[in-house]
């Protein structure tokens, strides 16, 4: 039986990198073969604040602001922990 709650993460996310230091950033790498599908879902679910050079998308989803890159990477800042990132991603990619 597959866990429905974690499905989007398993489906679309290749890696979640946590940076070191006091203020942690989380860098998410989308699965290469699923990145276009994931990007479309994210752009549909989140609010676009601005686009920079057609490469960077500044987005807002629920209370989180984040950046999505055209090559399938996302950066979340000022989030509490990995759990919060995972919850956001689950909702964002649903």
């Amino acid at each position: 039986m597959r866990n429905k709650q974690t499905m989007p993460i398993q489906q679309y996310i290749a890696r979640i990198e946590e940076t070191c230091g006091e203020e942690k950033d989380f860098i998410i790498v989308l699965k290469y073969e699923k990145k276009e599908e994931a990007i479309n879902k994210i752009l549909k679910n989140a609010t676009l604040i601005r686009s920079i050079s057609g490469i960077i998308y500044d987005l807002k989803f629920q209370k989180a602001s984040f950046r999505l890159y055209k090559n399938g990477k996302i950066i979340f800042k000022k989030l509490k922990d990995k759990k919060e990132v995972e919850t956001l991603l689950e909702n964002l990619l649903s």
């Binding site: 050079s53 490469i55 950046r67």
Partner: protein, 408 residues
């Protein structure tokens, strides 16, 4: 002067495209790419001569042992050490520093002693000493930086005293590329009979390093930053010191005999000769052979030529960066005291934003603390983007970096 276009032909990875973009690799301070000569040496070893080293009487073991020993001799020659007895193969710079910490440091340092560590150091030259000082209770005196990111020599002179037993310092900062005046530091340390441990991870791959001329006591460096495979590195140490130091790891190969004494019910152990006393267990044989080939490759090109090439790239990049209003270079821009590392900030963007943006164009740079959080604290900045050059980089690649940054 070297020709980077000819050199690039030796590096298969530069045929790679990232999302249709020609790969530009500016993350050399983290790790270097590998030439075909190194890749083939490792492959050839596995295909033709592979066996475990030392104490095997068969042909393959003899051949593998000879190659592995030759690798030690080549590395000794590369840094002008007296002999291979002064060359210990380890996993990398981090393990080399930990070896010194947990051999010399654990046995010799007491609560009455002090050591000096700089705030320019990589975490790998801070954390082992902090860990050990919690057990041995010696004092660590940290020496900070000037506003330009140079080591504060005045503070260093104030910190060193008759209690100082060890001075730990990077030859070249892995963040700013600033080259420290090792001769000055070594002389001061030796005047107080303190030993000097140098993190050479960012110097040995990029410039001529002569351990005798510098008179350093310990020099640690990594193979993977100098064209060799990962998992192989070096601790150079003066023979006289090594002879008096206890081994780091225990196991096979590092002993001459382990004899059970029924009276004491203990095993009596006799250490092996140098450098094997410090290389327990089956070593990274293929890594050592790869390192030997890397060293031969670098020597053939000439370390003076590599240093000159990187300095020219740095001078050129700094000039070009100067044209970009949103860019701030971190630390000194004086190329006479800098290696090929350029840390920078971009207005309104975090370092990770920039690295991710450049990645879209096939440009690989590093972002964050670069394992040197205290250095960033000293300079009052959160993170930096770091572009770092090597022998195969070109001015055209720098032009592409600048053009790409202009899009922000």
């Amino acid at each position: 002067m070297l020709n980077p276009y000819e050199i690039r032909k030796d590096f298969p990875i530069f045929k790679r495209k990232i999302d249709g973009n020609q790969l530009i690799y500016f993350d050399n301070a983290a790790s270097s790419q590998k030439p075909i000569q190194v890749l083939e040496a490792v492959k050839d070893f596995y295909e033709t001569s592979y066996a475990n080293v030392h104490r095997g009487v068969h042909t393959l073991s003899q051949e593998a042992s000879e190659l592995y020993e030759e690798a030690h001799r080549e590395v000794a020659k590369f840094i002008s050490a007296d002999s291979m007895e002064e060359i210990i193969f380890v996993r990398g710079t981090t393990e080399a520093i930990n070896l010194v910490t947990y051999t010399f440091g654990l046995r010799e340092l007491t609560s009455q002693d002090e050591i000096i560590v700089t705030l320019m150091d990589h975490h790998s030259n801070i954390v082992p000493w902090e860990n050990l000082s919690r057990i041995k209770r010696f004092r660590i005196r940290y020496v900070g930086l000037t506003k330009e990111g140079l080591l504060d020599y005045k503070a260093f002179n104030e910190a060193i005293n008759s209690r100082t037993r060890m001075v730990c310092v990077p030859h070249v900062s892995n963040v700013t590329g600033i080259i420290n005046d090792l001769k000055k530091i070594v002389k001061s340390a030796h005047d107080y009979e303190a030993l000097v441990l140098v993190d050479g991870a960012q110097s040995v791959p990029h410039m001529p390093v002569d351990v005798k001329e510098l008179d350093v006591d310990f020099l640690a460096f990594s193979g993977h930053k100098m064209l060799a495979p990962t998992g192989i590195g070096v601790l150079y140490c003066k023979k006289q010191l090594l002879e008096n130091m206890e081994p780091f790891h225990g196991g096979g190969s590092m002993i001459k005999q382990v004899k059970y004494d029924s009276k004491s019910e203990r095993c009596i152990i006799e250490w092996n000769d140098l450098p094997w006393k410090f290389e327990a267990g089956t070593p990274n044989i293929s890594g050592g052979i790869g390192l030997m080939e890397a060293v031969k490759y670098l020597r053939k090109i000439g370390m003076e030529n590599i240093e000159q090439h990187e300095r020219e790239l740095t001078r050129y990049a700094l000039e070009e960066f100067n044209e970009l209003e949103k860019i701030q270079i971190v630390g000194s821009k004086d190329v006479s005291i800098k290696s090929g590392i350029i840390p920078f900030l971009v207005e309104n963007f975090d370092s990770h934003d920039i690295a991710l943006f450049l990645d879209n164009f096939g440009i690989m740079v590093r972002s964050g603390f670069h394992c040197a959080q205290p250095l960033h604290q000293q300079l009052g900045i959160r993170h930096t983007v770091r572009a770092s050059f090597y022998l195969y980089n070109t001015k055209e690649e720098i032009d592409k970096l600048i053009e790409t940054l202009k899009q922000l």
